[in-house]
Symmetry: C2
Subunit: 239 residues, 2 copies
């Protein structure tokens, strides 16, 4: 194990993209549901358009345009717009609610559960995710993610990459920033974690956004650990 | 399963006394440590005196005498006074810190891990405890408690039995109060949970306070479930 990470006691994970395959899960879940309910749609287009509104929605909170609003609510707001674009305005409130809850039903990447289970033996593990508490707890139940605790940005009322999210974990756990490692498939998330003093681990997820992904294919800084997946991360951190 | 609890989706647990044997754990942990470190003390007296200051310490927060202060800090404040009473003022800062952290190293009652593991298959489970996040996460690692999430009163900045603690869980989880059940060995905790609309489960722990305990030996209301331990609770809730 590298000496720079020997003080690490807790490892927190970006969730959407890093631990769970949001795009594949949404397409599979809603395709099956649409089949049963007789709802026809281009579910891949819905997933992509919906995620396209992810940063703009959080920016409404970050800029102060709206008061703190959790991700379930931002998702619901964005979904209404996406459904309108896809000529699906006729969907009922119950159907919209079911679709919005698909983020609670995401599946882990194939290596996630095994890797996390190993890492948990030696470290405190949790998501540090923009997802709200209910979303992350329900997702963990659904996908079998063995978190010790859910560190949702909802607890800190700031979205990543605000420093209060990374430092919030440290404060709640009585750990120095150098005792906490952030793992993400996104260089920007890690840059903010490093700026706050945390250790960093990069895992590429080159198909997070589907075929033709152009972002985050490679580490852009010398992160403390670079691993191909969560199982390899477990090896690198001695778990 | 009783019809009154059929809507329950999450079960939250009082921790000190209900899930973990704080008194026995403190005595065992500090006796062994004192032996190694050459610190002689009446550890049972320390445990009892320390716990005797538990309500008065929280009352300082409840009454507004001091701003929100988490339990690790209240414990440290009380410990200094208890050590003075026991003629142990000479203990170093490091020793005091180690003793204060004994609350992070408590052990479950013999039925706790098996019972919780069963209940977790069907319900979201977590502590709803006055303990702070670090304390509860570290305790869960130490005792093997398989929580889905730690619902610490630290998140709500109120100590039980303030209604915001029980309702805080419901809000974070998007559940109605009737979809959440509070399990405790303390009738007062359950009375407050019921007043907030939650379902209730009582488990007696007649030796929580050692031999000669006089409180909470019996249920004082018709709680939704009464069980002898967490394993029996699992049976009563169909898990």
């Amino acid at each position: 194990m590298k000496s720079s990470i020997q003080r690490v006691k807790a490892i927190v994970f970006d969730t959407f993209g890093t631990v769970v395959d949001w795009r594949g899960s949404i397409i599979r879940d809603l395709s099956a549901w649409g089949e049963c309910e007789g709802v026809k749609a281009d579910w891949a287009a819905l997933a992509d358009k919906w995620r396209g509104r992810y940063e703009p929605e959080k920016d409404r909170v970050r800029t102060g345009e709206i008061a703190w609003t959790n991700l379930d609510e931002l998702h619901a707001h964005a979904l209404d717009q996406v459904l309108a674009e896809l000529d699906l305005e006729a969907l009922s409130v119950d159907h919209r609610r079911h679709i919005n809850r698909v983020w609670h039903r995401l599946e882990g990447w194939p290596d996630a559960v095994e890797g996390l289970t190993r890492i948990k033996r030696r470290y405190v593990i949790g998501p540090l995710s923009n997802g709200n508490v209910a979303l992350l707890v329900n997702m963990a139940k659904h996908a079998g993610l063995p978190w010790d605790n859910v560190f949702s940005c909802e607890l800190f009322r700031h979205y990543k990459p605000h420093p209060e999210t990374y430092l919030g974990v440290c404060r709640l756990m009585y750990l120095d920033p150098a005792e906490v490692m952030m793992c993400a498939a996104h260089n920007g998330d890690l840059a903010a974690a490093r700026a706050a003093g945390l250790k960093t681990a990069f895992i590429p997820r080159p198909t997070e956004h589907g075929p033709g992904q152009k972002t985050d294919l490679e580490p852009t800084q010398d992160w403390d650990v670079v691993a191909n997946d969560v199982i390899e991360l477990a090896e690198r951190v001695g778990a």
